[in-house]
Amino acid sequence: MNHNIYIYIFVMAAVTYLIRMLPLTLIRKEIKSTYIKSFLYYVPYVTLAAMTFPAILSATANIWSALAGFIIAVFLAYRGKSLLKVSLFACLGVFIVELITGL
């Protein structure tokens, strides 16, 4: 079987782009239904929360560094720090814990 890598890449990119593009271009008017508006309002909070936990706990070399990163991020986010600060300090926490535990 002869499969062309560029056809593969085209198929991947086209399908992925269409999924993203169709709702954005087809739904241009403001949705009036309170239920749908509320649903869409909650969507990012549910998706991001579900993506973060428990995945964050297995993202690093060991669970202790991951836990440190998680706790630092929750604390700083709660204090209203910027995206960059929360993110960098979580990375730094992971780095330091892994340095100490030798992993």
């Binding site: 241009r28 990012p44 979580a90 990375c91 780095f95």
Partner: protein, 255 residues
């Protein structure tokens, strides 16, 4: 704000995405090399797809010379969650903005870019999106390039540390608005608990992560919207609260 200021603000908010993407796409580059894909092709995949799970699955399908149909269906299933995100984003984009902006913004609907742009207070300026997309895609492509060039440019410890960048950013997006809103706080905690349950329960564990997100989102956002519909004025207040808790506030403090 001018277009340039919007772009710069987006660029700044996109830096954590860039860092996190370097870590993830670095791994993608290493995998691509193992499968025997050239640097050019791997970079092309990252530049045209900008999606982690979809690209990893794509790699294994290319390696096993799967059919094009199989490739299309796999991508559809893995990336279907973007459809939900684009629906939410469709209501957020400045209605005055010309249609072509929507075609361009669609290119960059990833979990991370969506999270940053949809939770930004007020209507979304396409130029803010472009700022976030520009720096994020740079990180995604650059990481792929590094990974395939040589698997050991980045020490394992650095990759491990950068792996929490995206999760840290997600928490920085969802926690501040949940502080003063008990419904949102509940939604966040329940979503995490549901995701944990899916991760640990035999059977449920076998559902792919893309579908897991779709199922959890439909159920929890669906229930929350039914019992706690967001009122118009409340919506505006939340939007303003979101505006105040992001980097703009910090910029004011620092200046």
């Amino acid at each position: 704000m001018t277009r340039r200021q919007y772009f710069t603000a987006g660029f700044k908010d996109g830096i954590p995405i860039c860092l996190g993407y370097i870590a993830v796409s670095f791994t993608f580059g290493i995998m691509a090399k193992k499968v025997g894909i050239s640097i050019f092709d791997a970079v092309l995949i990252s530049l045209t797809n900008v999606t982690s799970a979809g690209q990893f699955a794509g790699l294994s399908l290319i390696a096993s010379t799967a059919s094009y149909i199989e490739m299309a269906i796999t991508q559809l299933i893995i990336n279907l969650r973007y459809c939900l995100m684009s629906c939410a984003l469709s209501q957020k984009i400045d209605p005055e903005a010309p249609l072509f902006h929507r075609f361009l913004i669609a290119y960059g609907v990833t979990d991370e870019i969506f999270g940053v742009t949809v939770c930004k207070g007020g209507k979304l300026s396409p130029f803010y999106s472009y700022g976030v997309i520009f720096i994020s895609v740079f990180g995604w492509v650059f990481g792929t390039f590094l990974g395939i060039l040589s698997g050991n440019i980045l020490p394992a410890r650095v990759v491990s540390a950068l792996s929490v960048a995206l999760y840290g950013m997600f928490l920085a997006i969802i926690i501040p608005p949940a502080r003063n809103n008990r419904v949102l706080a509940g939604v966040v905690v329940i979503s995490m608990a549901a995701s944990f349950l899916f991760d640990k329960t035999p059977g449920l564990r076998n559902i792919s992560s893309g579908f897991r997100i779709i199922i959890i989102t439909l159920i929890i956002a669906g229930i929350a919207a039914y019992f706690f519909p967001v009122k118009e004025d409340e919506y505006d207040e939340l939007e303003e609260a979101g505006e105040l808790s992001d980097s703009t506030k910090e910029a004011h403090h620092e200046s």
